[in-house]
């Protein structure tokens, strides 16, 4: 248990036999049309139910449940906080005549700071400082704060910029993610989609003070503004023109195939696992925010024993000529499972990213699907 917790791939490798793993790998790596255990197409997601604004005590909240019963609840809370510039920055400004003071002063107040967004993930069975929750929250936070919004959309400077109230005050955003049951598969897609919806439904009270005054807000919750602004209905913009929080997709490659939203069995035979964060860019296209490799659990599986090495089968099968793989000097027998070794080719990574980003690709499909969820 302790070593499983340490591992980043701690999606609890299912106890599949080498023969099952090999079968699964072969069917998933069929050229052109992989056969998935649940009959989905390679780019199809698992069915899910979603609802937003379920908790009255939060600024925004969402719940997503997958059909297999894993559920996540995300609550977003915002607090007003005083902006402090670090002391050394101020001092350097004061003493340095070379600096263009106008352009630099209070630049934190304009562009915001990544640490204003705090994220914590609660997974049953894990402590909150275990590797998996920490890794997941860093991954999702990094793409959230990393996005630089377009100027015309009212989100200049991305999420960070939106949190600025004035030069001395800002919002601090707490995103708490609650997984309600032990993860049956790597929980990243679930958590990312839920966070996306929760942020979309997040509202901040309307500011009544102006300029550099200490902020005070309208008591009327009905006039509160969305954190991610919606264009007013008079403009009749298409929904794809809205600024939207990023989503992180889990992509695996098996053989030459690229497969999305893998379940627990599929991820166990993956050659490479990538988490790719994308969001809507200007002009409706997709933009890439971050890529991270995730340790594929296939490296931890147990190898199968080919008949030629099996003592029980001695003499039962004719010795076959097997090609030695050059790198390891070990035999690769077809139909016998070997834990994955080594890494991933650059071309494979490029292919996976292309599948996500291309026009009409999976990234767009997911974002469109999320846009279909009515956010109240």
């Amino acid at each position: 248990m302790s070593n499983q917790r340490q591992a980043s791939s701690a999606s609890q490798t299912p106890h599949l036999s080498p023969a099952e793993l090999s079968y699964l790998y072969t069917s998933l790596s069929l050229p052109g049309s992989p056969i998935r255990p649940d009959g989905r197409s390679p780019t199809q997601f698992r069915p899910l139910t979603a609802e937003t604004n379920i908790l009255p005590g939060t600024n925004g909240s969402a719940r997503i449940g997958f059909a297999d019963g894993t559920q996540a609840i995300v609550g977003v809370k915002a607090e007003v906080e005083r902006t402090t510039l670090s002391a050394d920055t101020l001092d350097a400004r004061e003493f340095d005549p070379n600096h263009d003071r106008e352009s630099q002063e209070g630049s934190a107040a304009v562009s915001g700071h990544g640490s204003w967004v705090q994220m914590s993930i609660e997974i049953p069975g894990f402590r909150d400082d275990d590797a998996l929750p920490v890794f997941l929250s860093e991954m999702m936070r990094e793409s959230l704060v990393g996005s630089v919004g377009a100027d015309e959309s009212g989100m200049a400077g991305g999420l960070k910029g939106r949190l600025v109230i004035n030069k001395r005050w800002h919002w601090r955003l707490y995103i708490d993610v609650l997984l309600l049951s032990q993860p049956l598969s790597y929980p990243l897609p679930l958590l990312s989609l839920t966070t996306h919806l929760a942020l979309l439904s997040t509202k901040l009270p309307k500011l009544k003070s102006q300029g550099e005054e200490d902020p005070f807000f309208d008591d009327d919750w009905a006039v509160a503004e969305y954190l991610y602004p919606r264009s007013s209905s008079t403009l009749k913009k298409s929904p794809s023109q809205h600024v939207r929080p990023p989503v992180t997709l889990l992509v695996i490659s098996v053989g030459d195939n690229v497969i999305f939203d893998p379940n627990r069995e599929e991820i166990a035979v993956a050659d490479a696992v990538l988490a790719i964060s994308v969001t809507r860019g200007e002009g409706g296209g997709l933009k890439l925010l971050s890529i991270r490799t995730i340790d594929p659990p296939s490296r931890l599986t147990q190898p199968g024993i080919p008949n030629s090495e099996n003592v029980n089968m001695l003499g039962a099968t004719p010795a076959e000529e097997n090609a030695l793989t050059q790198a390891t000097g070990e035999e690769e027998v077809s139909g016998v499972w070997r834990p994955r070794r080594g890494g991933v080719k650059r071309s494979v990574v490029a292919n996976m990213v292309r599948t996500v980003l291309k026009k009409g690709g999976v990234g767009e499909e997911v974002l469109e699907g999320l846009e279909g969820v009515e956010v109240v």
Partner: protein, 267 residues
């Protein structure tokens, strides 16, 4: 904030949220909310919302004193998690175990360990996971009710529904009760602002399932107190009133929960 109960209540006889002294908050519940667990439930009492899931009875974890502890019956494990966004202000220290959640967990564990028919499942573990999504008073009582529903959903035998409710007094109640002028009323099902300023107790009661016709009428006598928790200062003369009101609340809740269970069976 001048709106505290102890000043306005004597004038209006209405509590902060407009209830009378013996009214429960709106209780809504649902069972089988999470197909991934053996039993699950969602329960809201006013603005307190709790999700509970039960796993088991299942084989206990390896290496964990399996010899002596579990041989006589199942071991109940309770894990309480109060979400960071549950309260009005976001809790600084998210996750982990704080005092409040570990106290609730201990109380729930001891209550259900003795309440359930654990002797039917030797060498096994029943683990209960409680997530508090929104906290507005009566946490322990709401958690007891949510757990009961989830355990019913999981099909774990128990002699009756274990229901919890809070009761308090509408003033500090530090002087002995005066039978002639009772200006202090007992209050049922406290919300968070009331809980913070008034003396209160949590009571959990259970009944045996009536067997045969003759048991149908004298149900009340079968009521047993399973949980009683109070940590505020109060003159002892008031306890009896509070307890009576709390137990009455438990009976009301029991009817509501029975309705929920019957409703879900019909669906």
């Amino acid at each position: 904030m001048p709106l505290d109960t102890s000043t306005t209540y004597p004038l209006t006889r209405l509590r902060l949220d407009g209830r009378r002294w013996n009214e429960l908050r709106l209780l809504q519940a649902q069972i089988s909310t999470n197909p991934a667990s053996s039993g699950s439930s969602y329960l809201s009492m006013g603005n307190t919302a709790i999700m509970c899931s039960v796993h088991g009875p299942a084989e206990g974890r390896r290496g964990e004193a399996s010899g002596s502890a579990g041989s006589s019956g199942a071991v109940v494990e309770v894990d309480v998690n109060i979400a960071g966004f549950a309260g009005v202000d976001r809790r600084r220290r998210a996750g982990g175990s704080d005092k409040q959640s570990s106290r609730i967990a201990t109380t729930l564990r001891s209550a259900f360990q003795s309440h359930l028919h654990t002797y039917l499942y030797p060498h096994s573990t029943i683990s209960i996971h409680v997530s508090v999504l929104s906290a507005d008073g009566s946490l322990l009582a709401a958690a007891i009710n949510a757990c009961t529903l989830a355990l019913v959903d999981a099909g774990i035998p128990m002699p009756g529904l274990l229901c919890g409710c809070t009761a308090g007094m509408s003033g500090s109640a530090s002087t002995p009760k005066d039978p002639r002028s009772d200006e202090l009323d007992p209050l049922l099902d406290l919300s968070l602002p009331e809980e913070q300023e008034l003396p209160q107790l949590t009571v959990g009661t259970t009944t045996s399932v009536p067997v045969g016709e003759n048991n149908m009428d004298d149900e009340g006598e079968e009521t047993k107190v399973a949980v009683l928790n109070m940590d505020s200062k109060l003159h002892f003369t008031y306890i009896e009133t509070m307890l009576a009101v709390g137990m009455d609340g438990c009976n009301q809740i029991r009817e509501l929960l029975e309705g929920v269970i019957k409703e879900s069976n019909r669906a």
